[in-house]
């Protein structure tokens, strides 16, 4: 290989380097590859700690419920509270219809109302599916695996209605977002073979002012019922307006007793099927469950340790 001439390079702009003359200051940051792995490990550890915290607090908070309010439906209510009536018709499931008057904070939505009713009646909070669909009220239907079935006849589900000028209107919008005002009446009815639309039958108890206990000076005057009243049955003194599409009247109704100070709940009319209560587990079986969980996690710990040892050995 024969050398050929080459133009000289531009001279270096810094002086010839000697160790004690090197003027550049050294930046001791640590962005190197090794410390980046350290940051990754720290981030993963933090994530694991957060998840663990959620799990631990969950186990501590199991069983907590919110307290019921002190005011009752027939007595004076405080500022910021409203009275609403909730009708639940579970007759298709072997239950009955009932209307409950409740005092709730203003701005409660329909879902919270259901939960409050469950607390007050002691029937437990309603069961929801993972998508947010309401599966069961008062533990009906009892089968925990179904939630809103569909078969060749149509849908079987809990349909939602609200009071619209004295008659039921099918609630196709979200009960979660509907804010209740004083004097509102809500209804839920279990429909079998329905269409999932406004043609589905409404609760057998119609919405009327008479569902509210009498001592409620702030109630607006009741609108006249639109349907002709039926001949009075002997046991009840007040005519009950007929709801659309149903010939049989249920008798076990929260009575609109005039002048009575009783709370208009009919706990006895509700209980037909099984009731799922909130804390059905005794503390004894809870401890048993914790032992089972601990045993499995010890097993997992052994597996993880063994895997880690094997990885170190083979790498």
């Amino acid at each position: 290989m024969v050398r050929s001439g080459l133009a000289p390079f531009p001279a270096p702009t810094h002086p010839a380097p000697t160790t004690n003359e090197w003027p550049r200051t050294v930046n001791h940051q640590l962005p190197s590859i090794a410390t980046k792995r350290l940051h990754q490990k720290r981030a993963l550890r933090a994530l694991a700690v957060v998840l663990l915290g959620v799990v631990v607090s969950a186990s501590v908070l199991v069983g907590l419920t919110d307290t019921a309010s002190a005011s009752s439906c027939s007595g004076p209510i405080s500022e910021g509270e409203i009275r609403v009536v909730l009708v639940v018709d579970s007759s298709e499931l072997g239950g009955s219809s009932s209307a409950t008057c409740l005092v709730v904070p203003a701005g409660t939505n329909g879902v919270q109302l259901l939960a409050r009713r469950g607390t007050e009646l002691g029937t437990g909070s309603p069961r929801y599916g993972s998508s947010g669909l309401l599966c069961a009220i008062d533990g009906l239907p009892a089968d925990k695996k179904v939630c809103g079935e569909q078969n060749s006849d149509g849908f079987s589900y809990w349909a939602y209605f609200f009071d619209d000028g004295g008659k039921w209107a099918y609630g196709s919008n979200n009960p979660f977002s509907k804010r209740l005002t004083d004097g509102a009446i809500e209804g839920w009815r279990f429909v079998v073979g329905g269409c999932g639309c406004g043609l589905d039958p409404s609760p057998r108890i119609g919405p009327s002012r008479s569902l509210f206990p009498a001592l409620a000076p702030a109630l607006p005057p009741a609108p006249p019922p639109e349907l002709p009243p039926l001949p009075e049955p002997p046991s009840v003194s007040v005519p009950i307006p007929q709801s659309s599409g149903d010939a049989n009247l249920e008798q076990g109704v929260g009575a609109a007793e005039t002048g009575s100070l009783t709370v208009t709940t009919t706990a006895e009319a509700v209980v037909v099927g099984e009731v799922a209560l909130a804390s059905s587990n005794s503390t004894g079986s809870n401890a048993g469950r914790w032992v089972g969980i601990a045993a499995v996690f010890i097993l997992i710990g052994f597996m993880a340790g063994g895997a880690w040892v094997q990885t170190r050995r083979s790498r």
Binding site: Y128, R289, I293
Partner: protein
């Protein structure tokens, strides 16, 4: 061939990929049946244990850790979605996010509001279920060579399978290449951390991947890949037409099964027609390709046992599902999950392949000193 089977049964070899996939599919079917967090953690642990015990010393066997990391990301994303967009079922409120009221047409969606413990736990369970399915899938990809899976496919599907196999090898190579490119950034005086480093390394990595793909394609082409044999055009067109008809019929049949209002003709008969068409296409197409298989993986005792282990685990879950509802612990109200003994035993049976599956050939068993390619 009999003596061949005897020899391969005892020495180190790779298990038939179909056995590992059956086992992994059975485990993920178990995971899909339950939201019990304890059982899901056990599924993840079992899959990890089997992977670490029986993976071969090849580049694609290190992918399990990436799937675990992906699973944790899935859980985190699920929880974040629940916090912001979840359905506001009442419960024990932990904290409240300012609520945004949406107009009526978006009434099905809620934005903000009180975040309850029950909803977070439900989100965690569902995320954990997805993470368990990902772990099973990661176990299958770590244990099976993509190429051996490809060879086990019927010959008519071979060419479609090649594209999938090459896609499988793309991800680990891209990871290695992106690490090299980011290190090279440091050599040019730029930082190798942060978003800019990742985005700037995308183009060279993709270019490198394209070059490698072209080189691989040229190598395969030069070695005879894609030979047609002597089948005529009409035979090929017929098999392609049968495949399309079969896929269409299966799609229609699947829809019919899911929609109760569909006429009965669109359900089982459509599925049957689709299956028949596909089988016909496989048979007709199989005659036209001329590939042979070199020493196909045998399906003998260990393969049966591994598949059986997976099926036993799945069976135990079906049994528990019928007997109790421990597989779906309730989150509203929140309760301590029950650990069903039968399911735990089933999952421990699914961990047995870590012992009785054959050892993969390791560097120590190959009879030459290990060479370090630096």
């Amino acid at each position: 061939m009999g003596s061949d089977a005897q020899v391969t049964m005892t020495g180190p070899r790779l298990l038939h990929p179909g056995a590992w996939w059956l086992w992994a599919v059975a485990l993920s079917a178990c995971a899909l049946r339950t939201t019990n967090p304890v059982l899901l953690c056990l599924i993840i642990a079992v899959s990890g244990w089997v992977v670490v015990s029986r993976r071969a010393d090849v580049p694609w066997s290190r992918s399990f850790a990436s799937f675990l990391r992906l699973g944790m990301i899935v859980i985190a994303v699920r929880i974040v979605f629940q916090i912001f967009f979840g359905v506001r079922i009442p419960g024990t409120t932990l904290f409240t996010i300012p609520e945004v009221t949406l107009p009526d047409w978006a009434a099905g969606v809620s934005l903000g509001g009180p975040v309850t413990l029950e909803s977070l736990m439900a989100a965690f369970y569902q995320g954990l279920r997805l993470a368990a399915v990902l772990a099973c899938f990661g176990a299958a990809t770590s244990l099976c060579s993509p190429y051996r899976m490809l060879r086990a496919l019927p010959t008519v599907l071979y060419e479609a399978g090649v594209a999938v196999t090459i896609a499988f090898t793309f991800a680990p190579q891209a990871i290695v290449a992106s690490r090299q490119v980011r290190e090279a950034r440091r050599l040019r005086g730029r930082s190798d951390r942060g978003v800019r480093a990742w985005s700037a390394s995308a183009m060279p990595v993709l270019e490198g991947a394209l070059d490698r793909a072209v080189a691989l394609a040229a190598s395969m082409d030069s070695r005879g890949y894609g030979r047609r044999g002597s089948s005529s055009v009409t035979v090929r067109r017929r098999s392609v037409g049968l495949v399309l008809l079969g896929l269409l019929a299966i799609a229609v049949g699947s829809y019919g099964l899911l929609d109760p209002s569909a006429p009965a003709l669109f359900r089982i008969p459509a599925l049957g027609l689709g299956a028949a068409a596909l089988i016909g296409a496989l048979v007709a197409g199989g005659k036209s390709t001329t590939r042979t298989r070199y020493r196909p993986d045998p399906w003998i005792g260990p393969e049966w046992m591994v598949s059986l282990a997976g099926v036993v685990a799945f069976g135990s879950f079906v049994l528990v599902g019928r007997m109790s509802d421990a597989l779906s612990p309730s989150t509203n109200p929140l309760e301590v999950p029950v650990v069903p003994f039968v399911a735990v035993i089933g999952l421990l049976v699914a961990a047995l392949p870590a012992w009785f599956a054959p050892h993969p050939p390791t560097l120590a068993s190959a009879s030459s000193p290990m060479v370090v390619a630096a």
